[in-house]
Structure formats: C-alpha cells, structure tokens
Symmetry: D2
C-alpha cells in the first residue's frame, strides 16, 4: 500500500523532494536516496528514518525494493536515469528539464511509447499551484470568454554570478513555456527574445522580454528578470474577451509598520511554490497504478525544451523564430 | 511506521478528517471508521480502502489494531470517547468542544493528568492556519512591540434555521476564545456580550459584539455574524505598539469582470481552513510518540468552554462577567 | 461674483485653509487674514497676493470688504467669532469644535435660529471625503440592507508630549462622533470608553476603545490610538445586513522593493484629507447665497461636543453614559 | 486677477473643461463658449453664468475680453485654432491631438518658436494624474535605480461601432506615447504593433500589443484593448533595477457582497482622470503669466503624433518602425 520511492540526487531539489515525501505525502515513503556525494546524502538520510543510501542511480532504479523514482540529479544525467526507469517499468518524476536537449527528450518520448504506457512525469510543478489552477478553472468556466493574451513576469531577487544570460531562457522561462501551454491549452509556435536596457546588477543580459504566439493566435509576453532585487515574484495576467484574471501571490498577514502597509515576498521559489511541490508529489503518488496520469508528461518535457531551444536561437540571432517539434 | 487511526463519527467533520488523512497525511492511515449510521459510514469507507467499520466507539477505541483516535461524533459524546481513549492509553484528536460543559472538560483534564502523559488534542484547527501562525510569529519577533488590542470578525454567509442565538457564542465564537489565548499568549479574564441592531435575515440575536479583556489588560473585540450574507469571512487585526497585523484571506487570482475587480470568498469554513485542517492532522500524527505535543490540549479545551459559559451568562444577564477557571 | 473670504487664524489649519482657497477654490479669494501674531500672518499673506492683514478678528468680520469668514483661531475663541459673524449676517466656516463646550455651542445655535437663516458651517471635513461619501451612497442604494454595526479606527503616528488622554476624545474621536451620525443618519445615544493595555510610547491612556449605540440600535466601536507609530490611518467598516463596506485609504502606486510589496501611509491628516478640505471649502463657497446649506451645521457642532462631553464622563467615571442634548 | 477663458467646442470634452473651470478652478472663469451647434453650446452656457456665446472660434480668440483659450473642437480644427491663438499672443490649452498630423503639428511648433514664447499646452492630462506623478517622483528619488522596462495596459469597457483599428493607436495609445516619454524622461525611437487573437466583440483588430524602445534602450509594452468589457482600466508597471512601481487605480471603499470582495472600476476615462483634468486646468491657469510653463508643449504634441504615425505604419506594414522627428 505504501509506495516505496527512491530519490536520485540530494542537492537542493532532491533534498526538498525527499523531505516533502517524508513530511507531507500520504501513502508513500522515501525508501532510498542516491548521491555520489555520500556526505550530502547522509545529511538528508539522517532526517528520514529507513532510507537506504545508494551511490549508483542505476542500482537504485533496479532495486526491487523501489517502486518509483524521483530524479533530481544534475540536468545532464536526467535522460539516462529516466530511460533506465522506463526500461525497468518504474514510474519516474523527473525534475525539469527532462533532458539536456530536445533530441535527448525525444529519445525518452520514444522509449516511453515503446514501453506502451505512461511512466514519465516532468516536474513542472506550477501545474499544481493553486493560483494557476484557479485561473485555468475560471477560463474553462467560459465566464471570461476566450483567452487573447497572457502577460507574465518571472522575477528572482538575484542569481549567482555564474548565471549566464541564456539560463534566463533555459532554466527560468522554461517554466513559463510549460505553464502557458497548459493554461491556454495551446501550442507555442513562435518566439522572439528582446533585450531591454540591462540592470547594472549583473553582467548578464538581464532582464529579457520574450514574446510568443500560440497556435490559437494568442500573444504571450514574459518578462524574465533574474536580478529584480526586491524578491521572488511570479505574476501573470490572463486577458480574455470579457475580463482578466491576475495571479495573486500568497500572503497571510498584512503588516502596517514603519510608514507603510505591506506584504512580504517569498525570498525564492521554494516557499512560493511549496504547496505546488507538495500537491505535485501527492498527485504523482496518487496517479501511480491508475490509468489517469497527471502533470507534464515526456512530450511536454520535450516541447518545453524545444521552445527553449528556439528561444536560445531567438536570443542569439534576433527576430521571430518558429518552434520546431518532431512529428510522428 | 504507519499510524493506524480510527475515526469516530462520519458526519461532515468526521468524513472530512478521514478524507484528509487518506489523501494528504504522511505516515498514517484510516484503519477504522465508526458511526451508528452504517449507511453514512459506508459512503466514507467506500473512499478509503481497508478501513474497517464499527458501530460502537468504545469497541473501536479498544481495538488493538487502532493506534490513535479522531473523535468527531456528536458533541455530547465527546467526553466519554476521550475518557475511553485516555483509559486505553491512546492519543486522541477530539473535535471541539472537548465536552458539553466545563465540568465535563475538567473530568477529562483530571483523567489525563492521572494518566501521566499528554494524550488529548482538541481540534482548534486555527492554531495551524498559516495566517494566524504568521501573525503570531511576527508578534514574537518583537518588531511590533507589545500587543494591545485585537479586533476580530467571524462571519458566516448564513446558518440553518435551527441556529439559536447562544450558538453564536458556544459554536462560533469559541474558535476566537481559543485562538485569542494562543495568539496573545494570555488568558481571557472578562467577557461582555453586546447586542447590536439585529439583521432581519434571522430570528436570532445576530450579529453579536463580544468584548473581552485578558490578564495582560489587552482588549479583544469580536463581531460574530452568522448571517452576514456575502460569504464566510474570518478577520482579525492585531494592534501593537508599533504597528498592526491584519489577516489576509487566502486568494489566488483576482478577477476583473462585470465592472469590478474582485476576489471570491470561501462559501464556508472548510475551504477557508482546509490547509489548517491538513496541517493539524499531520502535526498531530507527527507528535505522537514524541514528547512534544502540539495544538490545543485538554486544558485549552476546558478554558474555551469556560469562556463560552461566561459568555452565555453575559448574553443572558448583561454586563461584564468574569471567567471562572478551576484551580489546581 | 468672487466671494471675498476673511480667514481668522493663520496657524496650521488657518494657513492650510487660506492656501486651499487661493490655490484650488473657484469663485473665491482670500481677501483678509487675521492673527495676533503678525509675523505668522505675514508669512501666509506673502503667498496670497492682495490679502489684507488684521489683528482683530471682530474688525475683520465687520469689514464691508469681507463677504464670508473662516474661523481657525484657537478653540476658545471660536464661539465669539462665530457669534460675531451671525450678528454681521456673514456666512462662517468654523473649524471644529464649534465652541469650547456644549453650552457655548448652544448659544451659537440659538443665535443662528434667532437670525433666521443658516450661516454657520462646522469644519467636519470628513463629510466631504470621497471614501465616506461612497460608503454613504452605497448604503443609501439599499443594496447592502440596513446598517447594523460600524467598526472604526482612528490612528495617528504620534502626538506631541502635551497631548493628554482626554484629547483623544475631544480632539480626535470628535471626528468620528460627527461622521458616524452622518454616515448612519442616526443619533448617538450612549457612549462607553474602555482603556486597553496602554502603549509604552506615551504617558497618556492610549489607545482607547469607545463603544457607542445609536437611536437605531446600531453599535459603533472606535479605536483611538494617538501613538500608533506606523502612520496616520483612518479606517471604518460598515457592517450591513447583506454585506460590508470598508474604507480604502487613498493610494496611487504600489511599490515592490526591499522584500515587500507596499503602500505608504500619509504622515498626518492633512495629506489624507486634502481632497476633503478642498471639497469642503468649494462646497461652502458654492452654497453661499443659495438656500441649500452643506456640511455640518451649528446643531451638528453642538451634538459632537455633547457626545464628547459624555465621552469624557465615560472616561472618568466608567460605565455607559447617556448623551444629553438640549431640547427645543 | 481672474483669468477669462474662452472654451472652443462644447462636445463631451469641451463641456467637461468648461464645467471644471466653473466648478473647481481658482482665479479663472469661463468668459465665452464657442460651438457651431448653438443648442449644444446653450446647454453648457446655462450652467455657467456670464459666459458669452460665439459660433466663430476665430472671433472668440480675437475678442479682447478673452485672456486664454481652451480648444476642444473636432481634431481637424485644432491646428487652425492654436495658430490663431499664437498669432493673438494668447495662451491656449489644446485637447490632444495638437493637429491632425505631424506636419501640421510642426507648423504649430514653428509658429510658437517664431512668437518667441511658450503659449501652447497640449491636453495630455495624465501628466497631472496623482498616480503617474507619484511613480515619477519615486523614480526620481533614485531609490529604485534606473528604469528598465514599462508594462502598460489601456483598456476601455467598449467603444462605439464606428471605432476603427487604427484609432487604437491614434486616439488611445497616443496617451501612452506621451506619458511614457514624460515618465521615463526619454524619447521613443522604435515601435512595433502586434495583433493578438482578436476579441469577437468587435470588428476591429482589438486588442493590439505595442512594443517600443526608448533612446535609453528601455523597452515599453502597451496592451490596447478597446472592448475589454469589464470597465475602464489603465495600468502601468515601471520595472527598475531595484524594484517596481505599479499604478493603483483610485478606489474609496471595498465592497463585500454577493460572494466577493470587490472594487468598482470607473466606467470611462472621465471619472478615472477627473482629478488629472482638474489639476491640469488649475496648473495651466497658474502658469499663465509666469515663465514656468507646465504640461505637454507643442513639441510634445508633435512627438506624440509622430509616434502615432510610426505606429500606424507599424500596424499596416508590420515589423519595427523607427520614429522620425524633424530636426532643428
């Protein structure tokens, strides 16, 4: 009855996933942790009674005591782990990106198809965020008419010095690439990347302004600002024929102090999306063994990566770039 | 490893608790359900694989396959069930009120003391609500200075016709009686109940306006309005020496439609406090077997009931009534 | 065509009124200023071309070049000035309070009655504030049903050391005494003054909590906090049978900076109510020579003072004090 | 001392300006009204004692009893009226646009230069709106660092059936063309007009999405939606290096009713910008006879029109169009 989960990678995201399962997820347990860095894995294991330690991800995946796998290892290892899970017939929740490039994503898609059943979920957790879900439900109600435009802002307080311009597209905007498709139930067909006056707080081209068009002719604009300074702030306004829907960040208590009336921002994405991560994990656990998969699948992972690749070209070459997807 | 919980009562609250455990609580399971109404219990059991059905609460409590008990049966049965749990040495989470009157609450308090360890938690779920917790943490930070006043509003959209005036105190305001003590870390010593002009939507004296004083000389006012019409709305503003903290109701997406910019209200307390109920249950499960109890204990249950009894006298007699607590 | 106004008193309020007329009021001019402190008057006169200077208020009032008078001299001189205006048949806008006590207010009321026409307006400027007006209009629309309760907060960032406890009632809460009557179209019949735990920022009994009842049985509670620390903040929530109306403070631009999303508070009442002061002055000018007086009249000034006097007794004696009004 | 103003045009805007002067502007009067439609002019004159009626704008401008002129006649007559005012040496406040095209605007600019002093103000009233002013002051404070991007939305509830797509640029977005330059203290050098999926509520290409670049390399995006359905809504968020500033629409009282917490929107631009119109008129009156002109001048009127013309090309031809300005 209790799903035995193995978590590959015990860095920031892997440790968070393991703790989420341990603390908040019904009918599941962290049965194993895997990291080449045994010290790091040991710290997490110390919080989770009964979790076995592995250093080889393939050994964890193959282990008969493991029913399902969370992949949160470095990006370049994702595809290999996920392919091994498919080969082993084990459900896998893979942190984004699904693979380092669209070509590798395609290998995963094809492997899953060959396996004949849905095994792969990609960790685009925003699909489980209450705010995005409320927006999607209101849109589906029809009360607002058709969606015409989507304005998005994706702001981090700051990023480390190693952060390069293109990571704004491949690591940050990729969340919008997925959630926009899901929210609008549409495919992104074109992308353009504009470079506003850059902040002096970073050596990167920051912020960026991305404009996309969907196959329903909707226009989507995304401000990506990795050094926005004031906090972590994700916004979106969905403009429909009869009204708009604007994401409200989660707040609990208004402070009136020091001359202002104020709400604090989350410092980074983890508190902002903690509830989304919890719901994603629970929904994944709930879906296993059913024929009702949830969340982003391998194809969604491929598409997000393909859009990111088009975005990288748009950044480098300028102009409007068409998104190229493999056909079947 | 998995806590086997028996849920007594499968009415609105019992069913909700059972579903919460099943769907959202780590390291626990609903091992049994008990209700004299077998049909009602069967509906809930149908959603929860493996739950055994009982009709006799004492049998459930005594069952060796049950590690801990949730009591959500009718109010007048609470004390008996909780006393049986204490006798069986099993942790119990009892819906409020702990017992029908302060005298019965005292029996529970004394039984638990005699048992020599904390076994009883009372379901004052607001102690686990994120908003109340943020307010309490900000107060504890010292940034706002000492708390001086607390303004509260407790509004329901409407209540059934059988709702009588005194239930505003015993069933509704009792939540404030508990949370105020917890938020201010203070005892309520006096209570007065004022009767404003009544709404024509009800035959009861509705709304009421309650003014209380704490042993720190803080003043607490609570508007209780059971037929407020527009939605379920719980508010509080904590007035401190250097600033105030105001609860913000949970919202996800602002709608702009039909001439207004708007947020919807929760229709009743369950969606408003769903997260509090989940966290309460998880925290209770987590605390079992540790020496760190959480939430409201039997004494807190007694105190809330004693304040409610003073409130009833204040309603009936007018004037300021002192809260009488037993001494040890 | 242009109304020639004489302004008596060039302290904070008098200077503000003179500047408002000069800068923002149509069909009026500051024809004269009067202050025993010639230097102070000279500073204001320097901003207002053509204003003559007086040191004797009665001479200003009597001057044939003056059509109407604004009284903003010290409180104890109000009654004498207003009576002189009535005797001279000149319209007068008198800063609150109308007179130092209800007995003196009554002399003004009787003198105006004897004069046979409305000449006196009392400067309860909140009656011209857009927020209060919107609340009153919504109430009048009937959409919200009858008003049952009114929750008010009146907070200053801080007050000078000479501020004594009773001034919270006579100088601050007096604004609520007037606006509550106007908003609810009801008379206040009872008042009680409670003393919460006091702030350590003041030697006065601060904050106070005032509870009043109207002749429609509505309950009104007012928090008066003169050293609230964080800013000038006036709030009110009108609780009706079908919904509530909550005053929103005027804001223009939300700031996201330094970890928070914030709005600044006005530092004191002048920026907060600048629009109310402008509208009050324009409405007074517009009303002169018509038979449609606006704003608070002499009787309203008397009533506010009578409630304040009952409030002072309530503060000193405790308990519920009935408001005593003269009968005619 | 009182400025005698002649108002040319008594349609919606002319009548509003005349009423604003009459009701709310110090040291000015409506001395004359001019409209070929005598009935329409008569209605306005009936509200304004002493205003003479003209049918010929040039006669009004030439009249020695007129000190200054407000031009609110049809767009195509603006240039001729303004040129006549310049020739007569009389200050003129001209509703936008200054002239039907940039070439005609240039004639005005050159005529004013030849006259040797500033006589022309263009009615871009947003420069006097409290919200835009607060944003500009905060930016000037330096606390937010440099401005990098500006996101704007300009939404009308609906527009008449005769409204054509290009009017979104020439009549609506032209306000943004001016205010953006003023807010950023920068020149717009490029413009692109994108066409999102159109609403089914209109035959026009509606909404539009405009992207502009300034000479400081800032990126400005503007959603223009003339049939947004829900109300009149003007928004802007200024994204700076250290934080953002977001316009808050003016609201006075939050309503909680019918399941939601809500604020009403203004139905159209007049209530939304009533304060801006009043301040614009007062500031114009105040500035006359001083050497400190305020508001948008003739050159600003020309620039806004030139950007609109580039926008029209961008709409028709696609791609990024450079804004062409005459050089001196």
């Amino acid at each position: 009855m209790t799903l035995r989960i193995g978590v590959i990678g015990t860095g920031v995201m892997g440790a968070d996933h393991a703790r989420t399962i341990r603390r908040h997820v019904a009918r599941a347990e962290v049965a194993a942790l895997c990291d080449p860095d045994a010290d790091r894995a040991g710290v997490v294991a110390g919080e989770i009674a009964g979790a076995r330690l592995f250093s080889d991800p393939l050994a964890l995946i193959a282990d008969p005591g493991i029913d399902a796998v969370v992949v949160a290892s470095p990006d370049e290892t994702h595809a290999e782990c996920v392919l091994a899970c498919i080969a082993a017939g084990k459900p896998v929740l893979c942190e984004k990106p699904l693979a380092a490039g669209a070509a590798d994503c395609l290998r995963v898609v094809e492997a899953e198809r060959a396996a004949g059943r849905r095994l792969v979920q990609v960790g685009f957790m925003r699909r489980f965020d209450p705010a995005y879900n409320e927006m999607r439900q209101r849109l589906a109600s029809g009360d607002f008419g058709e969606a015409l435009m989507l304005h998005c802002a994706h702001r981090n307080a700051s990023v480390p010095a190693f952060f390069r311009s293109l990571m704004s597209i491949t690591n940050a905007a990729v969340h919008e690439f997925d959630i926009v498709r899901w929210l609008l139930d549409a495919e992104i067909v074109e992308i353009e990347v504009m470079k506003p006056r850059p902040t002096r707080s970073s050596a990167a081209a920051d912020p960026l302004f991305i404009v996309m068009r969907t196959d329903k002719d909707q226009l989507v604009d995304v401000e990506i600002f990795m050094n926005a300074g004031y906090g972590y702030d994700i916004r979106t306004e969905l403009v429909c024929e009869k009204g708009t829907l604007t994401m409200a960040p989660p707040v609990h208590a208004e402070q009136r102090i020091g001359g202002t009336q104020r709400f604090p921002f989350a410092p980074d994405w983890r508190p902002r999306f903690a509830e989304a991560y919890r719901r994603q994990m629970q929904a994944w656990v709930d879906s296993i063994g059913t024929d009702r998969p949830v969340g982003a699948g391998a194809w969604d992972g491929l598409v997000a990566t393909a859009i990111a690749e088009a975005g990288v070209r748009a950044f480098e070459e300028g102009g409007v770039i068409k998104v190229a997807l493999p056909r079947f």
